[in-house]
Symmetry: C3
Subunit: 262 residues, 3 copies
Amino acid sequence: MTVTSPPALLDRLRAQAPLVQCLTNYVSMDLAANLLNAAGASPAMVHDEREAAEMAGLASAVVVNIGTLSPPWVTGMHAAASVAAERGIPWVLDPVAVGATAYRRETAAALMELRPTVVRANASEVVALATATGAGRGVDATHESTAVVDDAKALAASAGSVVVVSGATDVVTDGERVVLVRGGDPRMPMISALGCSATALVAACCAVADDPVEGSVAAMAMLAVAGERAGALAAGPGTLRAHLLDELAALDSGRLATADVR
Amino acid sequence: MTVTSPPALLDRLRAQAPLVQCLTNYVSMDLAANLLNAAGASPAMVHDEREAAEMAGLASAVVVNIGTLSPPWVTGMHAAASVAAERGIPWVLDPVAVGATAYRRETAAALMELRPTVVRANASEVVALATATGAGRGVDATHESTAVVDDAKALAASAGSVVVVSGATDVVTDGERVVLVRGGDPRMPMISALGCSATALVAACCAVADDPVEGSVAAMAMLAVAGERAGALAAGPGTLRAHLLDELAALDSGRLATADVR
Amino acid sequence: MTVTSPPALLDRLRAQAPLVQCLTNYVSMDLAANLLNAAGASPAMVHDEREAAEMAGLASAVVVNIGTLSPPWVTGMHAAASVAAERGIPWVLDPVAVGATAYRRETAAALMELRPTVVRANASEVVALATATGAGRGVDATHESTAVVDDAKALAASAGSVVVVSGATDVVTDGERVVLVRGGDPRMPMISALGCSATALVAACCAVADDPVEGSVAAMAMLAVAGERAGALAAGPGTLRAHLLDELAALDSGRLATADVR
């Protein structure tokens, strides 16, 4: 299928530098902020109920990530997501390890009722959300992304959200269209919170896209191209992280045009 | 103007390894601690009201950063800053994104009443504090530092604090004296929480300085020289961060004597 | 003395990829997760009382680190450690800066009653725990690890825990046996939260070991060998961190067999 080209969205991202409010887990705070900065967006980590809704009103996109949950954060997540939903601001849910505990399942279910623009997850999380069963054992994918395309489509259709399943091949679907993004480096899953940071980049790209499928595809394509280039320079996950940020910052529309998007 | 030389303060910092208590935001936890360690100080991230005041009594300097606010943290900030103010321990306020929300404005205003030794901020935050208007839209500077010297001087004079405005040129003022520090690398703003970490280094240097202008100038000069050297080795913001820590650790009084301080 | 070889435990770690639940401080979130991933374990940062016990029941090991304490976290720590203790899941306590404040001393004392499988600390923390006096001033070691072997043995014997004292030479003891691990790089203490991350790796190795002395020795040997190799590539603490993660990921049983363990 055809989507608005990732290179065009990268140019818009750089020109507009959208403010992305992140209510995200403690592990991802550093990398998500740096990755947004490297890509050209402007991160704002604001979570408390006293200001979460107000900040959402100023933001161009909102990220809600349930990785390190606690009640005050859940309250802030609902406040920010509600404002985003009301005002048509794109908001992206990352249901980290949703299958692992009852608290995660309940929190994710309640957030899904606010209809996220995009759900960005790994394969096991998509399966857990789609089947509402506790299939997950933690934050790691136990399924291949391409093995869960049907679950992703079903989840997208029932939720009214775009679903992004990250993996060796990234799957983006709105329930009908399915776009596959290939690339990256096989050591990328060893970088903790890179999935969470991809979620933040999806939000940033959706802030400047006409359509959340386009935004999601552009974000995953950016990571795929930057990750592949970084992989050529890296000796392992530690140097891969540093080079990935360098390559994201150096990414231009010419390089991004080489992305394998189908 | 003349200030006690940054090289002399670097030597003192290394000799004394001051304990710097940081009540700082989640994004900056990692970098601020590593940057303090690299420079020769000893970080202690302690925030809860059950121990914040006790720790402040043991510390040589205290950092209060409002980046990821919530009520329990604000309580701890007041406890630590009050002890610091009572005992003459230098404490440094970083009013992150103070213009963005009412909660930030109120929190910063209440902390300003405890008269921070130094306020370290970007240009838009200085303007927001100085005018008490909500001019900021987030954590990024929307003004040039050198364009807000008058606001910085006014804020310093009214608050009784030294004000440090970081930017391509750093501005340090106590309301009368104005010192400019130049250097660094243009990609440094892409390193998330580097400003917050600069705040922590200002606190560390004030712990060993006779005067907070001197301490602030030394901290910004250390970052300017280390940043410039790191920039020569870096391909982007990811490798810049690693090299910056290396260069800070390798900094000596000879190298620091080359700092552009006026 | 003889212990089951670190190389054999590394192979088990890679084969089993144990799920390690970490209730750890904000500074260590990023590095501990990345270090566990690099070594071959699977991190899960889950702390709130609503899910901490449930997650502990799913985990192969639990880490409790008191670096950035607050009451909700302490509640979660007790919930997770209690489940671990009841079910015989290895759990490791990191009593960060235990000597510094009353809150830390009380929290650590209450957690010690749940009899951690291993206590991983620096020398001053071991002394503080062993003597129940407030000898520490912060998170940094003020004693040599080898100077506190008697305190470590006494603490291990009285607590019924294995004690790991990290330092230039790591000391592992169950109160009778004493194993020394040498290696690493002298700049490793400049990497913030590397000790906390070592605690997490001890937990991961204990999850696959028959005995917590063996697990602890294997973890410290892995860091010693990877750290020494990383040190040969690093120009300072920033690049050392990246190379350390690379070298941990690249570690194999052949390289680990060169560890200096006695």
